[in-house]
Symmetry: C2
Subunit: 427 residues, 2 copies
Amino acid sequence: MSIKSIEAPGFKMVDGGICAAKGFRANGLNCGLNPDKNKYDLALFVSDTDCDSAAVYTTNLVKGAPILVTKDHLEKNNGKLRGVIANSKNANTCNKDGVEKAEKMCALAAEQLGLKSEELAVASTGVIGESFRMEPIESHIRELAEGLTYDGGSRAEYAIMTTDTVAKEIAVEFELDGKICHLGGMAKGSGMIHPNMATTLNFVTTDVAIDGDLLQKALSELVKITYNCLSVDGDTSTNDMILVMANGQAGNEKITETGEVFDVTSDAPAGSYQKVYKALWLVLVNLTRMLAADGEGAGKFVSCTVEEAASREDAITLARSVIASSLVKCAMFGEDANCGRVICALGYAGVPLDVEKIDIDLASEAGRMPAYRGGYAVPFDEEYAAKLLHEDEIEVLVNIHAGQAKGTAWGCDMTYDYVKINGDYRS
Amino acid sequence: MSIKSIEAPGFKMVDGGICAAKGFRANGLNCGLNPDKNKYDLALFVSDTDCDSAAVYTTNLVKGAPILVTKDHLEKNNGKLRGVIANSKNANTCNKDGVEKAEKMCALAAEQLGLKSEELAVASTGVIGESFRMEPIESHIRELAEGLTYDGGSRAEYAIMTTDTVAKEIAVEFELDGKICHLGGMAKGSGMIHPNMATTLNFVTTDVAIDGDLLQKALSELVKITYNCLSVDGDTSTNDMILVMANGQAGNEKITETGEVFDVTSDAPAGSYQKVYKALWLVLVNLTRMLAADGEGAGKFVSCTVEEAASREDAITLARSVIASSLVKCAMFGEDANCGRVICALGYAGVPLDVEKIDIDLASEAGRMPAYRGGYAVPFDEEYAAKLLHEDEIEVLVNIHAGQAKGTAWGCDMTYDYVKINGDYRS
């Protein structure tokens, strides 16, 4: 399913994903972790120069070995990175020799690139608790490094995909100090997705020059209104991360101050930090929406926006509760305007609510329909509702009349295919 | 799927459900709320004499009108009740005239029985937010009351069932002060089940004489280790309740003191309160297990027991996280020993954990198999695992080596049928 992008004036959508930014080379190939020779399973990307970097990781107490190694490398290297090696098919998690093997992956890549191990991050996705085979990586690392190109982003993306059915890449171009800048990213889904942060592997690169602490601040804030508003199945993965790398090759004056705060959905103020913040939001929010739309087995992309909440946190908690409800998800699959399940999910979200102030509408390209007013169901035309829900993109619009804050969460319907995909994922 | 009952010495399993206790008459019929004339949709049961009563209700902030009316009646009538009127097909929730109609249901039944309205409780289950039709009830209330019999429990049970595929009734017989006593119950499932308390409709009757406050104390405690350990789909319903009614017709000396506390899974001390407490646990835990096994679309009954936790609450929270995980549920459906998903679900449960102390086994009638030791996957024989998981009842056994407490949660696998049933539930 392909969905509309969120765009913004002053930011041009461009191709290239993680290679849209100057000075980044990437590659991907099949090394044999995946027996399907047509499916890439090993990715490498690298910047020509040092990158100020920022990262957020899963909140799951069970953490994949690659997460531990990446954190350690970022610390050892003072928040700088040069590149990333990543694989799919095996999560390298809950294996006794996991850390050792994640270190080895970095060492192998570093050797090819003439770098130090700690200049590399490592990421793995796939089955948890399955012994990790190094041999396929050892025997293909040279070919992988030699094949790095400035337009290889899509090969790297293909290598990190698991049950994803579409590639998830996006990049924007904008101007800072008269210099053309780029910020782009790639992501993989598509199950075990209920970030807190995080889930999925997400890599963002930019040629902007920006202080690493500011990049971290922007990332940490933006994750709350992008990835953390995503739910495919309520399972928070053990392995996933967002990594942002900025190599400064655009030539702008290095950003070292935030300037004034602004609402990211409004037009950005002219400041450099604001522009980068907005660019990062555009890339993260679009990747988040792509992940939701390509949730395992998804037939529909569903978003829920809660308006007039007392706080943004309340709005997001309520919206996520709706999006994560198995019963709402099944109703969307069945194209059934069963908004009793929506109000039910709002009621158990844990947010104080005046039930008699809840309004609910359903909307899609085919129109918009009131379903609840003041906590009570309102009659509606079943035929119109069916037409509305037959679309691929469905919006559940909630107003709780409790304040002025707003939040959106994204997800998908629940289908036979979700069950099928996850009934025998290891094979 | 029929599953083994949990039994205990000194308690004999008997037939009769809510009519096993002396002095309770029940009936059920199709009044036309459900267009399928073969499916009963209206239930009534009544005690010949006043009952000390106890109840727990859903924690959802959106509460069905019948919940509000039942609470009110119990208050007005000083915790006493004589009977219950209940319907399926329409939850009478989020309707503007819902309270009025729930009151009307009580009034109609009271008129037939020569009682006051507030001597009756009311319960509804079915679609939320759909206009409630009183006419079918008005036109059938006389027939319903006239058909009340001392062996009519199963008719009442059939009338409250929705997507349930099997009836859920159980009763035990035991002795107090040389008198034969009975305690029995019925329940309906089988989706929107993730109690906190509650979910589903659950009615328990007994001929024991016991103070209402003690009954409430027992119920409130036992719900924590029975219904609240159940999850079918993570959705906490708006309507559901457990109601316990004790009419004292067994002739035992009225119980007014608790006596010493004991572990309900061990043998009960000889005290009267302990015996009733144990009887209530037996009925609640078996109904809970039946609800799990008959979860919507369920093909397998799955339980998770967490041992050596720091507290019972921790153990239950962890066990519930495993049971509620969509990915674990799909793996059970696929008979795939993917315990990486189990450790993942433990990791995001919100309970502090030393990951390197987690042991996980899988067990069924076919055997028991270690899957994780000290937080790491251990190799296992895929053929043996497949045989083990091919059974109908699967146990996930977790030891976290953090203390001495234990807890169990119950659920089911996730199947194509769950999605199908919930894709068009309103039709």
